[in-house]
């Protein structure tokens, strides 16, 4: 059951279309490659009267997020988008909506960080903001970029959530790719996102203070309250995805599984390389290897339970990181290890770093990782230490 019309759409335009259907009130964003097409398209929609929103032009990403914070506090439905260095310039302000419980929705076209200057895709920007208290979801294709943006509004603005949400689509690999997708009927999307009403808005008739001073006697309590509330968002995310599936026929889970039923080896990816990795899984299966794929849809809050369930019968987990946690290895791999610590001593985990700064990972790249990991398991069994390998490096 998939309702709607088949269209060919660039990932950036798909996101803009979701924001238009969500009828955002205030948009403030600063253009940066590879996110530019999203902000350009939205500016065009506002100028042409297709979207009745206030478009606030700003001089930086720091100001873009500040404008979103103010507008959200005043009760507006808001949107911003950024990438790479832009997201980093926004970094300081990103903490404000999560701690002030303002449901800002943002889309990031994942991009590498300087230096050397790179406009191309990796997940360095996404990983740099993982501890801030934003809900973070990853799209594998343009359909998902649209669907997850729609879901982000419904989740973020739910009275039991009230946290900012970010949808990640890989720069160029999705943001600049035109592919076929199903565009649902606008009425159904509008019906899926309820009217937004924040319980505590800035209103001269009902004064409230936001972002107050937090001396030592109260700061810890507010952080505890924020953390408990953030962890509780997962049930609403699950509920929203379930209802999205019921209405639109596309079902999303925090940990997506592909051919995992009888898998003994699991490959783990995030973002646009997921479907390429599926093709590698098919080829490895033909070679007689019991491989499956896990794709992390929800990065924050981290889906511990679903992740542990997904790997319960797995003997080898092969993790691809498209970012470096300098001096530590891959951030996803270290997260995954901590999620399994003390629970799965029998599971070998082998991490790789690849796809940095737009370096392409073809099907054979994923096959290499699995085959190389099988070799490394032998070294682990001999008691040797193994290091995180960076793939495709010319030395």
């Amino acid at each position: 059951m998939t309702k709607g019309k088949i269209v060919g759409l660039e990932g950036s335009f798909a996101v803009a279309e979701a924001v238009r259907m969500a009828n955002a009130d205030v948009i403030s964003a600063y253009p940066i490659t590879p996110q530019t097409h999203i902000v350009e398209r939205l500016a065009e929609m506002v100028a042409d009267g297709e979207l009745d929103a206030e478009f606030i032009c700003v001089e930086s990403e720091h100001s873009a997020m500040s404008a979103c914070v103010g507008a959200s506090a005043a009760g507006a439905r808001v949107f911003t988008c950024s990438a790479g260095q832009g997201l980093e310039l926004m970094h300081e302000v990103l903490y404000i909506p999560s701690s002030m419980r303002l449901p800002v929705v943002a889309v990031v076209a994942n991009r590498a960080l300087s230096a050397p200057l790179s406009v191309w895709c990796d997940h360095s920007d996404a990983m740099a903001i993982r501890d801030i208290g934003w809900i973070q979801m990853f799209a594998e294709n343009n359909q998902q970029a649209f669907d997850l943006t729609v879901c982000a509004y419904r989740v973020a603005e739910d009275k039991e959530v009230l946290f900012p949400a970010m949808v990640h689509l890989d720069g160029f690999y999705l943001s600049h790719v035109i592919e076929d997708m199903v565009m649902p009927d606008e009425e159904e999307v509008v019906g899926f996102i309820p009217e937004y009403e924040h319980p505590f808005v800035l209103d001269p008739d009902r004064p409230v203070s936001m972002g107050c001073y937090g001396p030592p006697f109260i700061y810890s309590e507010t952080k505890k309250a924020q953390e408990v509330a953030f962890e509780n968002t997962k049930s609403k995310i699950l509920e929203t995805w379930k209802e999205f599936g019921d209405v639109f026929g596309r079902h999303y889970s925090p940990v997506e599984k592909y051919r995992m039923e009888d898998a003994r080896i699991a490959l783990l990816t995030m973002g646009s390389s997921g479907e390429t990795a599926m093709l590698a899984v098919e080829e490895l299966r033909e070679e007689g290897k019991d491989v499956g794929l896990i794709s992390l849809r929800l990065w924050r809050p981290f889906p511990f339970k679903e992740f542990r369930d997904a790997v319960k019968d797995v003997e080898l987990l092969v993790v691809l990181d498209r970012a470096i946690s300098s001096g530590m290895g891959g951030p996803v791999c270290s997260e995954v290890k901590s999620a399994l610590y003390d629970k799965r001593k029998d599971l070998n985990i082998v991490g790789f770093i690849g796809g940095l700064g737009g370096r392409d990972i073809p099907v054979k790249g994923f096959k290499y990782m699995v085959n190389r990991a099988l070799e490394k398991v032998k070294a682990i069994e001999r008691g040797e230490e193994i290091e995180t390998e960076m793939i495709g490096i010319r030395e």
Partner: protein, 182 residues
């Protein structure tokens, strides 16, 4: 699935070519994916764009096309830059914009199993009054491969070019008629 590499120079519209044909294929009910080659967008610099069309299945792969079935060369000078022709599959098709006679190109590119040639620059200059050959070369691509119908490009071109769509459709059709394939 057919994988097509479009090799041109920044400003020649190779990415737009890939996008227009992807839209046309999707409108025909096929699955398609256009992908730029993630290069710096400098006018005159070599630019690669990718296009995949699959009649039956959704396209899952999101990576560059290492061995294309079809290579579209917008600027004949690029045949000497890098090693584009050798990337073509053994039974692949090259679609080249060239002033030279078809037979001359055929003997020059003897490694290519199927060659399509057209003087796209002359046609574009005449019809569009501009030395931009992307829409012209769509006509040659369709003649060589039949990947989509000529008329399927009309709507995407109208959407993209507005008032000048008609001229772009005309230049495409003219190139279709003039392209020599063997």
């Amino acid at each position: 699935m057919i994988g097509i590499c479009i090799y041109g120079r920044g400003g020649q519209g190779g990415v737009t070519l890939a996008e227009l044909v992807a839209h046309a294929a999707i409108a025909e009910g096929k699955h398609a994916q256009s992908m730029p080659s993630f290069g710096p967008e400098r006018r005159g610099a070599p630019v690669l764009a990718f296009l995949r069309v699959n009649e039956r299945e959704r396209i899952k792969i999101r990576a560059e096309i290492a061995e294309p079935d079809v290579l579209v060369v917008l600027d004949p000078g690029l045949l000497h830059v890098g090693d584009v022709v050798s990337r073509l599959k053994k039974d692949g098709t090259a679609v080249v914009n060239t002033k030279r006679a078809h037979d001359e190109m055929k003997s020059k590119l003897d490694v290519v199993s199927k060659l399509a040639t057209v003087d796209a620059m002359r046609i574009a200059n005449k019809v569009l009054g501009l030395p931009i050959v992307n829409t012209t070369m769509i006509g040659a691509l369709i003649k060589a491969t039949g990947i989509v119908k000529l008329e399927s490009l009309e709507e995407p071109m109208e959407e993209r070019f507005g008032k000048v769509a008609m001229k772009n459709i005309e230049t495409m059709r003219k190139a279709y008629d003039e392209t020599v394939v063997s």
